[in-house]
């Protein structure tokens, strides 16, 4: 959590002389104190990641007799488990889970950030009983996801509180309806689209910087890729033989509400700290220049909040990618309409005894979370070094 606030401190000067000090007793003590945790982290984090990676490349669990044996015989089968997950006939649930996670992450982050910002701006108006409201909004964060999930499951029961209150009959946690559906066979097309957009963006930058060579190369690559995507990437039967639609399950709405309820207080606290950190001088200057209060937020404060938004996105993003307990408590492990990869990993490993496939799912999860965390760590470390 400490990382989250780092960007605010980015202007603090870092001591540069540290590395030039001679080897003294302090440094030896420091090293001695660090070594045990480095070894433990090395074994229990990185060693076990390696173990999981190896497991995911074996056939552990394909033969029920070997699955739970004292010394199971594992056979190396390469990336077969991953290939099954992404293209196999029986693993459509995994692909739906990936789609669900992406939608869940999107709505969860947008919801938490939006609600947090609104609450922070409201509290910034110095209302009466500000500290009371601050505590009130921050309070849900002190609960665990299991508690939040249990409470919201009761509220969202088909005959329960929410439906009674609103007079609706919506199946909050068991609806089978989907929106934003798309065909899994179009995945190559969407991938090509995204990558070519990146190329076009590079080309645009090159155009602005007047670098003709780069402009031509980037634009041409983007165009070729896009054309390839349109011609070969749609309904790609070489990826998956049967059309398979996935989309956003409406049953997730209830879970998103609960998750936003839980985490909006946290983003509010971040934003409030950020807003309060904006020097009064800047606001005064803006007022003198004739800004209205709304324009002060628009033109002065919100741009200064960008680094906070970024770190909030990182924190919320990795929470949502690996979410397990909230969904387990709210909808149970068995409902595919509200399934996420972490739950599927649990079911695959500990119910079907397919440990290798479970390990493969965890590796996919690890890569997804790493994709969010690593760029952030990289930039923040680079900033520290400067």
């Amino acid at each position: 959590m400490a990382n989250a606030k780092q960007p605010i401190l980015k202007n603090t000067p870092t001591p540069k002389a540290a590395s030039k000090k001679p080897l003294d007793a302090d440094r030896i003590v420091a090293a001695l104190l660090l070594i045990p945790s480095i070894i433990l982290v090395g074994i229990f984090v990185y060693g076990f990641i390696g173990q999981t990676m190896y497991t995911s490349l074996t056939d552990w669990g394909q033969n029920p007799a070997q699955a739970l044996a004292l010394n199971p015989e594992l056979k190396y089968i390469g990336f077969q488990n991953y290939a099954d997950l992404f293209t196999g006939l029986l693993d459509s649930r995994f692909r739906q889970d990936l789609v669900s996670t992406l939608f869940f992450t999107l709505f969860f982050i947008v919801g938490s950030l939006g609600l947090g910002l609104v609450l922070a701006v409201m509290l910034d108006q110095n209302p009466k009983g500000e500290s009371f409201f601050r505590t009130l909004f921050l309070f849900p964060m002190s609960l665990s996801f299991i508690v939040t999930g249990t409470i919201w499951r009761w509220l969202l029961q088909p005959e329960g509180g929410f439906n009674q209150l609103l007079g609706t009959k919506f199946q909050w946690l068991n609806s089978r309806e989907q929106v934003f559906q798309f065909n899994w066979q179009d995945i190559p097309f969407y991938t090509a689209l995204v990558v070519s957009l990146v190329f076009f963006w590079i080309a645009f930058q090159a155009f602005q910087n007047k670098k003709t060579n780069r402009l031509i190369v980037a634009a041409a690559s983007g165009l070729v890729l896009l054309l390839w995507g349109i011609i070969f990437g749609r309904n790609a039967e070489w990826v998956y033989p049967i059309p398979e639609t996935h989309g956003f399950n409406l049953a997730f709405i209830g879970i998103i509400i609960a998750a936003v309820w839980q985490m909006a207080g946290y983003t509010m606290a971040l934003y409030l700290a950020g807003i309060r950190g904006v020097p009064e001088d800047l606001r005064e200057a803006a007022r003198v220049d004739g800004c209205t209060e709304i324009q002060i937020y628009q033109k002065v404060i919100f741009p200064l909040l960008t680094p906070i938004t970024l770190s909030a996105i990182i924190i919320l993003g990795h929470i949502s990618l690996k979410i397990f307990d909230l969904v387990f408590a709210m909808a149970g492990a068995d409902n595919a309409t509200t399934d996420v990869p972490a739950l599927l990993m649990y079911l695959t490993s500990f119910r079907s005894n397919q440990f290798a496939k479970g390990a493969a799912i965890s590796m996919v999860l690890l890569v997804m979370v790493a994709a969010v965390i690593v760029p952030y760590l990289y930039t923040s470390l680079r900033k520290d070094r400067r």
Binding site: L173, D334, N353
Partner: protein, 411 residues
Amino acid sequence: MKKVLAAVTVSLLAASAAAQSKQLEIFSWWAGDEGPALEALVKLYKAKYPSVDVQNATVTGGSGVNARAVLKTRMLGGDPPDSFQVHAGQELTGTWVAAGRMDDLSALYKEQGWSKVFPKGLMDLISTNGKPWVVPVNVHRSNVMWYNPAKLREWGITPPKTWDQFFTVCKTLQAKGVTPLVVGENWTQQHLWESVALGTLGPADYNNLWNRKLKFNSPKAIKVWENFGKVLNCTNKDASGLSWQQAVDRVVDGEAAFNIMGDWAAGYLSTTKGLEAGTGFGYVPSPGTGGSFIMLADAFGLPKGVKNRTEVLNWLRLLGSKAGQDAFNPLKGSISARNDSDLSKYSKYSQSAAKDFRTNKIVGSLVHGAAANETFMSNFATVMEIYLSTKSASKAANAAEAIATQSNLGK
């Protein structure tokens, strides 16, 4: 992660307790309404062996869905519970026995003369190559349809005997705004499926599904999914939010006409709800399954490498004894696995079930671990999802066939 931590803590506590006195840890999923039955057994055990500290390690969750996951982490982590509950049949033989994790109980069976008192069909189910692996505590029936007799009279219907009759009754009831058949969360839907399968295929072809003589994507088996779809059209829409008890409650309250559930519902109805069998609640075999008995049994075994072997053997002796079975089963709502049980101790419902058990054709339950190994059982949930989201009988049937091949079903 939390579960692993919990298991580690439990085992640490257990280790420290072991230093003080002899102890026995009983691992089961009998909580809530099924708890009193287990308590009765533990009480008997304590009366006989007062120096033993009995630990009740219960993991809640219907049909053992959570308990099995915890059990696996403990077994793989080298900390087996002294004795754990398991469904007799493929769930045991196809999983733990195949993995070489259980001790053979032949000597105990010989000592107690149990092979004479347990019926042959049951002995076949719990043995491989003539060696028994577990002591069955009870026998349950899965294909029972429950109803509220007073309400049925009010609506002017009688319990249907076939699925076709059921569909007619379904229309009548839906016109009155009553849910014809109430189902609950995921596993109870699979429970319903096995009743539909038996009712559609008959006992011979039903068994052929599990020994792979009948393919899951054969026209006969596809018909099961088609019927299942029609049955689902007669059910409540909020199924996945209901536990099996809540589903039974709807029948009691008169919001729904029928519920298909195993006969632990009889224990719930009479013990918890205080209703009288025959008048307070009614029961018939689920449509199309008259004369057949989908059986499941809970059992306990002896894992290899347990710390308290003598205590476990004493526990197993008690489980298999007439006194133990007759203390446990009337409270659990099940019937004794022994031929010589004292039927006068049992409820009116259980007496009729015991009679059926001795005369009907016995087949194994899928969702309760008798018919198929754990890998197939667990993946069958995926098949169910494929059906529920596509409503395509052939897609579900093909998926079931693929999973059956993948999980070495019937071998």
